[in-house]
Every structure is written in C-alpha cells, then in structure tokens.
C-alpha cells in the first residue's frame, strides 16, 4: 500500500488561455488531515475536481490512493467521500432519502444501507429530522447532512471543499467539531480545501498554501512561519514607522512595524539576528527586547497571498 494518499507531480490545468493550476507538486501522507489553503479563485476547486477525476490535468500526473483518477476514475470515486462547496442535496427528498440514495450509489448491501444511514443521521444530530424534506433545512443542517453523505461508505479519503462556507459562527463551530472528531478517527485521510485559516490551524496537521494556481508553501500550520521564514519580534526605541526603509539592514532581513514600539523582522536564518541588532544599534536605535516568535498561520498566509489576492 502506498504511503501517500495523494501524489501530484507537475500538475497543471488550463481553461482556455488561463492556467487554473500551474506546475503543482504535492504529497499528502495517509492518515493526515491536510489543509489546502488559498484565496477565492486560487484553483482549489479545480484541484479537488482533478483529484476525483472530474477534470483531467492538462499536464502532469495525479495519483489518489495509488490510482490514476483519469484512467481509474470510478475506483477513485468509490474510495473517496466528497463534499463540494455547493453541497448539492435533493431538496424534494427527506434527509433519510438523501442518505439512502448515497448508500445505494456507494453499492452497499441493503442491510448496510439502513445501518449506515441510521448511524450517519445520529452522528450529525439529524435523527429527529430524518423524515423532513431537505428544502426546510437550515444551511448548517445541510452542511452536516452533506458531511454525513460523504461519510456514508466509510471512505479512505475524505475530500471537503469549503465545508463551513456560508455558515454562521455557531454552525461553523459545530461542523468544525465534526471535522475534529473525524480527524481523530485513525486511518482516514482528510483533504480539506478552505480559505478559513483558523479552521485549517485547528483541524489540519499539514497545510499547503496556493495562489493563482501555484503552490507557495507546504508545512505544519503552527510551524510554517518559524520553519519557513525565521522571525523575531523586537521592541525598539528611537524609531518611527517608515524609517525602517532608510536603514541599512543586512541582506535578506525585512523589518515591519507592528504598532507602538513593536517590530517584526523576517530573515533567512535566526543567526542573522545578531547582525540585525548590530545594524540597529549602529543606526542609533535602542533595542529593548528580541524574542524569536512563531508566526500564526494567518499572518503567514496574509504575508504570502495578502497583497496579491485577486
């Protein structure tokens, strides 16, 4: 069995003259919760569609659970549970009928169908509303039902595209709790496409950030900042915002104001801290404190894509 649930090598996808995904290399280990982050229009949904063989890559190759989604699309789709950004539930059918249909499509035996549907409805707290038509459901209930549907056949790989999009804060918490409980179940790989950084930070053990179809960075969400770009927080006196541009800082060091006397410096190596402090002192600036810091995923994300968000 492959160690990797998903392997993409040089994957690109073009629509007309526009490249939605460009030269993407990605590996998602089995049993991990992998966050696929990017602003709207970054190519996340296109990537999800390629993973399950709905779209062919223009160039490059994709392997999902050791299979080629283009040549073995049916097998890949049978092994994956998918929830797209538009959940797509049958409004004229009840919650029970929606799940029963999904169980039939997943080719479960009649006994398994009933058993799994009952379990899924209880798990997402929709048991009491099981015979109600979906047309009367709130957005939160629909998302939970969509999640239950994606899980109905106990898939090896769960692919979720913006599972909390459009939800109110209370429902975001509920759906997120569900995701956390799913993540704790051993063996299942979750590929979570989202633009909600808080969600990724809470749920994922690895994240990739893409923008305009290009992969910017991959790593653990809590270490992206410190591992990718070493950062220190400084307390300085005798310097106003804007003056940092006139400073002769060592090469590869960026200094940015955080407000008041607080500043943040990014550098290629934490060892550069010493030369930074020397340069600041040499410029007549008082250095009161220097603290190596872990940059939050949100800060890292905004640094990477914030200024160029289309």
């Amino acid at each position: 069995m492959d160690e990797e649930a998903i392997v993409c090598r040089g994957v690109s996808r073009r629509f007309g003259t526009r490249w939605a995904i460009s030269g993407l290399d990605l590996s998602v280990p089995r049993g991990h919760v992998f966050g696929f982050l990017g602003p709207n229009g970054a190519g996340k949904t296109t990537m999800v569609r390629m993973l399950i063989g709905m779209l062919r890559p223009t160039t490059g190759s994709v392997r999902v659970l050791g299979r080629d989604p283009v040549a073995q699309g049916d097998e890949v789709r049978a092994l994956c549970g998918v929830m797209l950004d538009n959940v797509g539930l049958y409004e004229r059918l009840s919650a029970y009928q929606n799940l029963l249909f999904a169980a039939r499509v997943a080719r479960l035996s009649p006994k398994e169908q009933r058993q799994r549907v009952d379990e899924a409805l209880r798990r997402v707290d929709l048991w009491e509303r099981r015979y109600d038509r979906v047309s009367g459901f709130s957005k939160g209930m629909r998302q939970k039902l969509g999640l239950a549907r994606a899980l109905i056949h106990d898939p090896e790989l769960l692919i979720l595209d913006e599972p909390t999009a459009g939800l109110d804060p209370a429902n975001i918490v509920r759906v997120r709790e569900l995701l956390v409980s799913l993540a704790e179940e051993s063996g299942r790989t979750i590929f979570l496409s989202t633009h909600l950084l808080d969600e990724a930070q809470r749920v994922c053990d690895r994240v990739a950030i893409i923008q305009q179809g290009r992969l910017l960075v991959v790593g653990e969400p809590n270490k992206l900042g410190t591992e990718g770009i070493p950062t220190v927080r400084l307390t300085l006196t005798g310097m106003e915002g804007g003056e940092e541009k006139a400073l002769a800082l060592p090469e590869g060091i960026e200094l940015a104001p955080l407000g008041g006397r607080e500043w943040r410096a990014r550098m290629r190596d934490l060892a550069d801290t010493e030369s930074l402090v020397k340069a600041l002192v040499h410029a007549g600036i008082g250095v009161r404190a220097v603290i190596p810091e872990a940059v939050s995923l949100e800060e890292e994300y905004l640094r990477l894509v914030g200024g160029n968000n289309p």
Binding site: R49, L89, R104, V105, A106
Partner: protein, 237 residues
C-alpha cells in the same frame, strides 16, 4: 444495473415530491382524455367517422409529448440548479447510468400518462355516448399500433431530446420549447414530400420502430458527447 436502479429510485421519489410534475401529469391525463370525448359527444359519431376515428389517437400522443417534454428537461435542470448533478459526478455512477435512468423515467411516465389518458378517453366517450364502453381507435389494428407502439417510440424520442437539450439550455421554458420543437421536426419529411403517411398496420409499425431506433441512436450520440469532464465544464459556465 444496480446504479441505474438506484438512479431510477431517486428520480421517481423526486417526481412524486414535485407538485409541478403532478399538476402537469394530471392536466395532461385529464385534458387529453376528456377533450376528445367532448368533441366526440358534440359532433356525434357520424362526424367523427368522417374525420377519422384515428384523429382521436393524436390526443394520446399529445399526452405523452406534454408530460415527457416537461419531465425530461426538469429532471436535468433540477439537478443543475440544485448542484446535485455535480454531486452525482463525484460518485462512482457512470454518466450512462445517470442519464440512462433519467431518459427511462421520463419516457416511462410519459407513456403511463398517455395510457391513462387513453383510459379516460374510453370511459368519457362511453359515458357521453351512453352506449357502454366505446373502443374508439382501439378497434382498429393500426389504431392499436399507434396508441401503444408509436406512443412508446415518441415518448423515448422526446425523453432523449429533452434530457440532452436541458444539459445545454439552462432554462425550463426554453428547454421545453426546444424539446417540443424537436417533435415538430418529425413532420418535416412529410411536408417536404420525402415520406408519405400510410395508415396501415405495416407502415405505423415501422414508424414506431424507427422512432425507437432514432431515439436510441440520439441517446448513444448524446452519451458519447456528454462525458464527465464536459459536463463539469458546462456546470462551470
């Protein structure tokens, strides 16, 4: 086959939950059943005999066309609007199973509607003429072939056209109009003089058979054109 069964189950459950479908179905069955009977009663048996009792079988065909031309596009458009077609494409279901089931269900409900309207016709004519059960065109062999055979072929043809038209035209009324127009196209060879209508059992049997062949041919062509990726691209538009 299990995939098609699952799809058929879902389509039937959805249709039974659609008030619009139930209205169209009832209206077609009652309208196409009662209208010819009223005409029969007003003009009398002699007038009907002059026009030809086979004229009345057209109402049975109309019932099928009305129901199928509404149902087939609706089965697809409903999925497009509700984003459920995209969900179906994420499942192991083949495109053939998805649309094959839709075509089969649309054709079947159209055929059932036409048979029910035929039943309503017989009962209504019997009641209005006061002569017990009146068999109308069913007394003639060519009438029976048209009522049962041509209706089946026409239902299948309209279901195929309506299903694939709805994949390209995203609006219910427009899809309905184009589907009905496709039925009108069947008259062109007669108007152009390429074909001549002969109300013989042999001729109408062949007509029913050819309608079925054309429908199956169009369905095969449609399934060849509308691959999974093309459907995704249409949904993206």
């Amino acid at each position: 086959m299990n995939d098609v069964r699952a799809m058929v189950w879902k389509e039937v459950a959805e249709l039974l939950g659609s008030r619009r479908f139930l209205w169209v179905f009832m209206a077609a069955v009652l309208g196409m059943g009662v209208l010819p009977a009223l005409s029969f009663a007003r003009q009398g048996e002699r007038a009907i005999a002059v026009v030809g009792v086979l004229f009345l079988v057209l109402y049975v065909l109309f019932a099928a066309v009305i129901v199928v031309a509404n149902t087939a596009p609706d089965l697809v458009l409903h999925e497009r609007v509700g984003h459920t077609l995209e969900y179906l494409l994420t499942t192991p279901l083949s495109v053939r199973a998805i649309f094959g089931a839709k075509i089969a269900v649309a054709a079947f409900v159209g055929y059932v509607a036409s048979m029910l309207s035929l039943g309503v016709q017989l009962v209504a004519v019997a009641m209005l003429s006061g002569k017990g059960l009146h068999w109308l065109f069913l007394a003639q062999a060519d009438g029976r072939v048209i009522a049962f055979g041509v209706t089946a072929g026409l239902s299948l043809y309209v279901a195929v056209v309506g299903t694939f038209v709805a994949l390209r035209i995203g609006e219910q009324r427009a899809a309905y109009m184009v589907t009905v127009f496709s039925v009108g196209l069947l008259i062109v060879p007669f108007i152009a003089g390429w074909l001549h209508l002969h109300l013989t059992v042999n001729w109408v049997s062949h007509a029913a058979l050819w309608l079925g062949v054309i429908a199956v041919g169009l369905a095969a062509l449609g399934l060849r054109i509308f691959q999974r990726e093309m459907l995704v691209l249409y949904l993206q538009e």
